[in-house]
Symmetry: C2
Amino acid sequence: GASLLLAWQIRNKRVLLVGGGPVAAGRLTWVLASDALVTLVAPAPLHPEIHYRVFEDPATSPSITYHPRKFIDADLDGVDMVLTAIDDVSTSHRICKMARAKKIPVNVADVPPECDFYFGSHYRNGPLQVLVSTGGKGPKLANLIRRRIEELLPADLGEAVEKVGKLRTELRKRAPGHAGGDVSKRRMGWMVRVCDEWSLEELSTMDDKMIIALLDRGWE
Amino acid sequence: GASLLLAWQIRNKRVLLVGGGPVAAGRLTWVLASDALVTLVAPAPLHPEIHYRVFEDPATSPSITYHPRKFIDADLDGVDMVLTAIDDVSTSHRICKMARAKKIPVNVADVPPECDFYFGSHYRNGPLQVLVSTGGKGPKLANLIRRRIEELLPADLGEAVEKVGKLRTELRKRAPGHAGGDVSKRRMGWMVRVCDEWSLEELSTMDDKMIIALLDRGWE
């Protein structure tokens, strides 16, 4: 069976991260980039990258609550997602069981049956994000494929996505109408035609003036 | 803020799908491919593709419980994930509020603030899966980028992932040891070297004999 690949919105959600080593450091990066509020539980010393984010980086430290100790059961209270990355297999197992009993999604690093979701390999370019998953068959291979995708896609594709987003926002201002309605369907049809007629390379060169000109020319 | 892209495991989880039109048909396809149990709520007539999966396809119909009527509150009982794809904005809004009160993740099609997760655009090749998300900036563009990735990646890459999975399984049999332990780390190191030395194209041509030969040659 396949996984269901989803773009999860965890802005201001509470994520519990148990562990302070290199795997936890990777988890922390992605979770913070998604604007989550992180509770970090790990005895000192922390991995240098984690230490930096907790104590030094002004962009991330306000989003992290750090408890320099081992996991206790109460850590699960009020939590929306749980990630563990510790060597202690039996504690991990216990955290997983408790999280599932509370219906909190959980990921125990390196133990697939104790994961409600996998991280896979992740590429980000501005608002564009790509996830590569091998369904647990090969994490290293997922990295290689992600790197291949990174090399093959135009470097300014993130820009193209940004520009198309602007075009959509402007269009919505000119032709307001709620989702599912007639105007909304016409807007969608026009966006599809623009995206079909222009190459990804052309879209990424679009500037604000061109967006206005395109809409002025008549959006239908 | 970015989304957190994740490969969700929903095998045997209960997904409530409200709606019977073309958008619901797309949702149903992905959710069934991930081996979920679907409760479908929608008055007849259904979209032909949905009708086929509910009443005709022996591979999918046992996984679907169909209620030919509008949504009622009790539909949310015992559910792990909620998807709505209906034109009725106020009912969607009400379902979203109730789902969130029960801490069930919810996606209301076309209404970003009522989505705990987005679907993005999805490519699958055997065990290999790729998700492209534009953070809601352009669903059509996400499709174009997904198609570009599909064209650029070797067509037999799914095979390569399958083969590497086999190699890992065989290796684990020859060198057992639990996750996080010393043998596990040596196994991981060897897999990384194999994946680094071989091209994606070479990996996809690997057959069972070659897997055995590779391991016989000495896995370290």
